[in-house]
């Protein structure tokens, strides 16, 4: 279970609070969605979960599997099953996709006490998953994300997620930039990972994604706080009414 308790986060080198007492619980086996206006702090929450520098948790806690992850390095969190699909995946010139994936998979396996995969086993493992996401293996010979289209980058993120086999999946606007077919392919990928062992947090602006990945709960985040939670129908409501109601409440 993911438990975020009254989390306050400010920028490390600026006196500006971004998350202002955010509380959220996602039991394993569930998919929760967060929607909210631009700048409300959704990506900040995702980064703080993954352990990015530049943010300071001033109070509150984040527990995963009953254990606080706040003091853990990003790679320790990854080993514990935390995965963030970035809103803006980064390009790594000069590092081939396969090399990157193999390094990551073996690092995580090592940390989880599993034997490393041999190169042929690894290739088989990745190729099968890449095919299902419609990712050409030639793309994986190229440097990570370099020269990829926006949609290709998002699919590559999902491939990383699938091969790393995380238990807490955070997807930050994975749907933006995807065409209709890619949206379905990515959603199928995400749905295939739904399991009683996994918790997922899907950040999105569009209700359409939630037709494919039907969430157990939907949360509305405005100005660094969850303002309302509900079932999947809340997303449909938001689609019609927008955030005005919550923003006035926040002000």
């Amino acid at each position: 279970m993911l438990e975020i308790k009254d989390l306050h986060v400010k920028l490390a080198d600026e006196d500006r609070e971004i998350l202002k007492g955010l509380t959220l619980t996602i039991p394993k086996g569930e998919v929760h969605a967060i929607m909210g206006p631009n700048g409300s702090g959704k990506s900040t929450l995702a980064y703080v979960l993954a352990g990015r520098d530049g943010y300071e948790v001033t109070s509150g806690d984040i527990l995963w599997d009953g254990e606080s992850i706040l003091e853990m390095e990003p790679e320790e969190r990854a080993a514990k099953g935390v995965f963030l699909a970035f809103q803006y995946p980064m390009e790594i010139p000069g590092v081939a996709g396969f090399t990157f994936l193999r390094t990551a998979v073996n690092a995580v396996r090592k940390a989880r006490g599993l034997p490393e995969l041999s190169t042929p086993d690894f290739m088989k493992f990745v190729k099968a998953k890449a095919e299902r996401l419609n990712i050409n293996t030639d793309m994986l010979k190229r440097p990570v994300n370099v020269g990829f289209s926006g949609g290709e980058k998002k699919r590559a993120e999902i491939l990383q997620m699938e091969v790393l086999e995380p238990t807490l999946c955070v997807l930050d606007e994975t749907d933006s930039g995807l065409d209709i077919d890619a949206l379905r392919i990515v959603s199928d990928g995400v749905n295939s990972m739904r399991s009683p062992e996994r918790a997922m947090l899907v950040i999105t602006h569009y209700q359409r994604l939630l037709n494919h990945i039907v969430p157990d709960r939907v949360h509305v985040m405005v100005d660094g706080k969850i303002r309302k939670s509900g079932d999947a129908s809340l997303a449909k409501e938001l689609e019609k009414s927008g955030y005005a109601e919550y923003q006035s409440k926040a002000a």
Binding site: A50, G51, D53, P74, A78, I92, V95, T103, A107
Partner: protein, 447 residues
């Protein structure tokens, strides 16, 4: 030049040792005279120091305080020892020619001369061939004291001839192994002659046996003559490990329409100076000089290039990438001369370093001397640290920080390695860089 300079201890020792060494050095009386003249020039010039413009950042007089004796006789070096010392390069399919402490070792070599390629021992040629004087001759570069020392002291080396129109099936790998258990001074001179229209790759690999002394002084020079329309990939790999001094000089002359790709891979040499001088002797020739240098602790790696566009319509490209850790120092000097006649010259130069510690230092001095008006020339130099956002991206995928950094540095270096055309060699260099970044020492891990 003021001849009455106060000699340093090292300079005196080099001059004095020569009279003893001269009798042992190969060569006819004509060659003896050449050596003696060279020693005379060295005596006048002395070791280069910081007030000599080209040596501003590498003050040899100050860095080399004493001169090491000749190597102790090395006994029982085996092919297996060589393999271990070569590390990632051992797997390379190549015509192998081995030198131990600067002396040719036919028993460890595996080059069968054929109609396409031959590699003779310089010592043998100097003793037996009256025309061999040109092998040592470096007239026109009389002001280079390090080269003068090389001419005076070079006892052996490889003279590689590639026949016109030959396309070599595999690279020629010249292996220079450091074996002496006592610190030693070694001078080698190589000559590469690539016939018209021939295609070849020649590698000079400087490696170390596990038991060799840490300290050493190497003075190596290679004369390269690339014939009309010929194509040569010329790569030096310096992996001597240790606190020694590695002074290297490449003198390359290109015929018309020749294609020359020179590459320097230098890792962890105490003090290295890689000097390359290229002269275009015919139109439409192309050069690509590139390299990767990796230095940590107090290591100092200097790359000094002089590209002389003496004729029109030639193309030059230079890309050097360095990684500096601790208080290491990198030097890059790239001089491009475009003579008045050399219209339509196209030259581009770039030097980039990753500075991984606040204590390291990088001195970059591009010098464009352009006397023609219809030319395209450019240069650039950057120094940076690793991108923290990329480090985080890797770590968020479970890759530990040190590994993430190594991966990113490798990718930075990779861009230079891409310049090496031979795939097996490129991969081997990639592995050497990979190991260096993770502090895996090939020679020692096998032993």
């Amino acid at each position: 030049m003021n001849v009455a300079v106060l000699k340093t201890k090292a300079e005196q020792a080099l001059s004095e040792a020569f009279s003893g060494a001269a009798a042992e050095l190969p060569g006819s009386s004509e060659i003896r005279k050449l050596r003696l003249d060279a020693m005379g020039r060295f005596g006048a010039l002395g070791l280069p120091h910081r007030r000599v413009e080209e040596w501003k950042y590498t003050d040899l007089r100050n860095l080399v305080k004493e001169v090491l004796p000749a190597p102790a006789a090395s006994k029982g070096v085996s092919v297996a020892d060589i393999e271990a010392a070569l590390g990632a390069l051992a797997g390379l399919e190549a015509h192998r020619v081995v030198f131990v402490d600067g002396r040719y070792e036919p028993d460890l070599s595996a080059l069968v001369a054929n109609e396409d390629v031959s590699a003779a021992s310089l010592a043998t040629l100097l003793d037996n061939d009256t025309s061999a004087v040109e092998l040592l001759d470096v007239s026109g570069r009389d002001d280079d004291a390090v080269l003068a020392l090389n001419t005076a002291y070079a006892a052996d080396g490889s003279v590689v001839d590639i026949a016109p129109l030959a396309t070599l099936d595999k690279p020629v790998l010249l292996v220079f192994v450091r074996a002496s258990e006592t610190p030693a001074f070694v001078a080698v001179r190589n000559v590469l002659r690539v016939g018209e229209g021939a295609i070849a790759t020649v590698i000079e690999a400087h490696v170390t046996l596990p038991k060799a002394a840490r300290d050493f002084q190497l003075n190596a020079a290679t004369k390269v003559i690339v014939g009309k329309g010929a194509k040569l990939g010329h790569v030096k790999v310096a992996l001597e490990a240790g606190g020694g001094v590695h002074l290297s000089n490449w003198l390359t002359e290109l015929g018309p329409d020749a294609d020359y790709a020179g590459f320097h891979f230098t890792a962890s040499t105490g003090l290295a100076r890689n000097q390359v001088a290229v002269t275009f002797a015919g139109e439409d020739a192309r050069i690509d000089l590139s390299g990767a240098f990796l230095a940590r602790e107090g290591q100092h790696i200097d790359t000094t290039l002089v590209v002389d566009h003496a004729v029109p319509k030639c193309v030059s490209r230079e890309l050097f990438k360095g990684v500096l850790e601790d208080h290491a120092r990198g030097v890059f000097q790239g001089k491009v001369i475009v003579r008045p006649d050399a219209q339509k010259t196209d030259g581009k130069q770039m030097a980039q370093v990753l500075m991984l510690s606040p204590d390291c230092e990088f001195d970059s001095k591009p010098e464009l001397e352009i006397y023609a008006d219809d030319v395209v020339c450019g240069h650039g130099s950057t120094s940076a640290d690793i991108d923290d956002d990329l480090v985080f991206y890797c770590r968020s995928r479970g890759i530990p920080e040190a590994e993430a950094r190594a991966l990113l540095i490798e990718s930075f270096i990779g861009e230079a390695l891409e310049k090496v055309e031979h795939e097996g060699l490129r991969d081997a260099l990639g592995e050497l860089a990979h190991n260096w970044l993770r502090r895996i020492e090939p020679a020692r891990s096998v032993a």
